[in-house]
């Protein structure tokens, strides 16, 4: 099943990832949304089972309900459909830092086995192999949201034993835990292959669910550490017709608007 093309089941692995992630968002929750995959999943949730989810983007748009997916974090679409628009300092102080965010929805270039996220550099900091965009709002979202949902396509380059740089902390470099943080950290990582969750004792990410048709061997192969598998490994429900329809409509509307 290719990532961009619908497979025999009639959906792509990216669609499966987005649908799965959207299901983790509960109606009425306040969600601080990163651009890209998280934004797609959060809006899918809003348009399906969680109409009262409150979406906040770091551009200061609070309670926004865009008709199309924003290309950037500050698209006019987000401002026009928001309950209120505040300045960027305020979104971090009065809203995130004050503990008003239930779910932080993030992605990253790298994640390690303790859920630490890297969006800064591949290689050393002083002379990086690849200079990534940097932190943005992620370090404080990761620390302060009540819980963090991470979305990331599975690959050995992305799922590494230790990230090259901890931009945003999960459970710390050695899985120490969350002392000093107001939120619980990454409670779930959704990929195009399945779902990982931290082990309740060691905080090491382990495979707890597979997407339909995926195999444990493949996931382990795409993971840079010796990935543990939950004895009660689940298989996720495939996307419903409704989920798929809403997602595809959303993406079609988006593509049409942005190609203008």
């Amino acid at each position: 099943m290719g990532k961009g093309r619908a497979g025999a089941n009639g959906y792509t692995s990216d669609e499966m990832m987005t649908v799965t992630a959207s299901r983790f968002l509960r109606n009425g929750q306040v969600c601080f949304v990163g651009i890209g995959l998280p934004s797609e999943a959060a809006n899918l949730a809003r348009l399906t089972h969680a109409p009262e989810v409150v979406l906040i983007y770091e551009s200061g748009t609070i309670g926004t309900a865009p008709n199309i997916l924003p290309l950037s974090i500050g698209d006019g679409e987000l401002a026009e459909h928001a309950d209120l628009v505040v300045g960027v300092p305020e979104v971090f102080s009065y809203w995130l830092q004050a503990g008003r965010v239930d779910v932080g929805f993030l992605t990253a270039a790298q994640i390690d086995r303790f859920g630490n996220l890297n969006t800064t550099v591949i290689g050393g900091y002083q002379s990086p192999e690849v200079r990534l965009p940097g932190a943005g709002g992620a370090p404080e979202i990761a620390s302060l949201a009540r819980e963090v949902i991470v979305m990331l396509r599975h690959s050995k380059r992305a799922f590494v034993p230790e990230v090259d740089f901890i931009t945003s902390v999960g459970f710390g470099p050695n899985g120490e835990g969350r002392a000093g943080h107001h939120g619980k950290g990454p409670t779930v990582v959704i990929t195009d292959l399945g779902v990982l969750e931290p082990h309740p004792e060691t905080n090491e990410l382990m495979l707890v669910a597979l997407h339909p048709g995926m195999e444990v061997a493949r996931v382990r192969d795409e993971t840079g550490w010796d990935l543990r598998v939950d004895p009660d490994l689940r298989v996720n429900q495939p996307p419903t017709a409704d989920e798929l329809g809403v997602l595809r409509d959303l993406k079609a509307r988006t593509e049409q608007a942005h190609s203008g």
Binding site: I35, G36, E58, S59, G60, T61, P70, L71, S72, I73, G74, D75, G76, L78, A79, V85, G87, V88, P89, F92, S93, L96, Q97, N116, T120, Y125, S127, P128, E129, V130, R131, L132, P133, G134, A135, G136, G137, A138, P139, E140, A142, S143, L144, F165, I166, T167, S168, V169, G172, G180, H181, H182, H258, S259, G260
Partner: protein, 290 residues
């Protein structure tokens, strides 16, 4: 008092080589016209400050105007990398670029402290992040609870440059929609340059009292319609998403980038020239194809 002038004069008079300059705008209202004018005037050794460097700083860095960059997220929003920025950091091309990076929350707190006349700001931030090893963050204890918090130094640019929808004839500036950190950047700066879509008798904004910066806080205003392109000015223009995607191709290659700057900025007299050049589809093709 606010002066009204051509962007060329304003940049020439108020942006000296070596200055620290914050051209702010959070996706919306990015002051591209002013950035191009800085490039045309070949300003050097600038310290560029900005939460989200975006294409405008990719251009400034790519031509070598900047010595140092202070920022919190340097990407092409929704597209990918800023290739000129990466080339500067990864390969010191066209020249080495000092960087100092923060989180958004930290940068915002720095600007707020700057605008407030405080030497530092506090936040519950940077916890567990490797950023603290590489940037200017201190710990501070709450004198009442003992809680440890992060402290960041105030950010006070020599020059802030913003683009706004409107100014009135007295120089009061109105902007709306996503306003980012522009007020703070302007109020933290020694010199404030504003480009506007329109100069009006009375600020429309959203009702009365919507000046965001009163005239006596603004050094100079220059009217530059569409001056935020390819970013947007809510109520006036929409974001040119296609340009953002094309930039990936333009900026990826040093030669293409150099030709693009030559054709679209240096060979143009002003931003109006740039906008006309964009209408000429063959020009971009020639630039890309060499």
């Amino acid at each position: 008092m606010t002066e009204f002038g051509s962007l060329r004069d304003v940049i020439a008079d108020l942006v000296p080589d070596g200055a620290s300059v914050a051209m702010e705008g959070f996706t919306h209202l990015i002051p591209f016209a002013a950035g191009h004018e800085v490039i045309r005037q070949d300003k050097r050794d600038l310290t560029l400050l900005r939460m989200t460097p975006d294409l405008i700083y990719d251009q400034l860095i790519g031509v070598g105007c900047a010595r140092r960059l202070v920022f919190s997220w340097g990407g092409n929003p929704g597209v990918g990398s800023l290739h000129r920025f990466r080339d500067a950091v990864e390969n010191e091309y066209p020249s080495p670029l000092d960087i100092e990076e923060h989180s958004h929350a930290g940068m915002a707190a720095r600007y707020v402290a700057g605008a407030s006349g405080l030497p530092f700001g506090i936040l519950r931030g940077y916890r567990g992040s490797d950023l603290v090893k590489h940037t200017d963050v201190a710990q501070i204890s709450c004198p009442f609870t003992g809680e440890e918090l992060a402290a960041v130094p105030a950010l006070n640019p020599d020059v802030a440059v913003i683009h706004a929808q409107q100014a009135d004839r007295r120089g009061n500036v109105g902007l709306w929609g996503i306003t980012g950190v522009q007020r703070e950047a302007a109020l933290a700066a020694s010199t404030v340059i504003v480009t506007v879509e329109e100069i009006v008798d009375e600020l429309a904004g959203n009702g009365p009292n919507q000046a965001v910066l009163p005239h006596w806080t603004v050094s100079a205003i220059s009217q530059v319609p569409k001056g935020s392109h390819p970013s947007y000015s809510m109520g006036y223009t929409t974001r040119d998403n296609r340009f953002y995607r094309e930039w990936d191709r333009i900026s990826r290659d040093r030669e293409v980038f150099a030709r693009w700057v030559e054709a679209f900025i240096l060979e143009q007299k002003d931003f109006e020239g740039y906008l006309s050049a964009l209408d000429d589809e063959t020009l971009l093709r020639r630039v890309v194809d060499g």
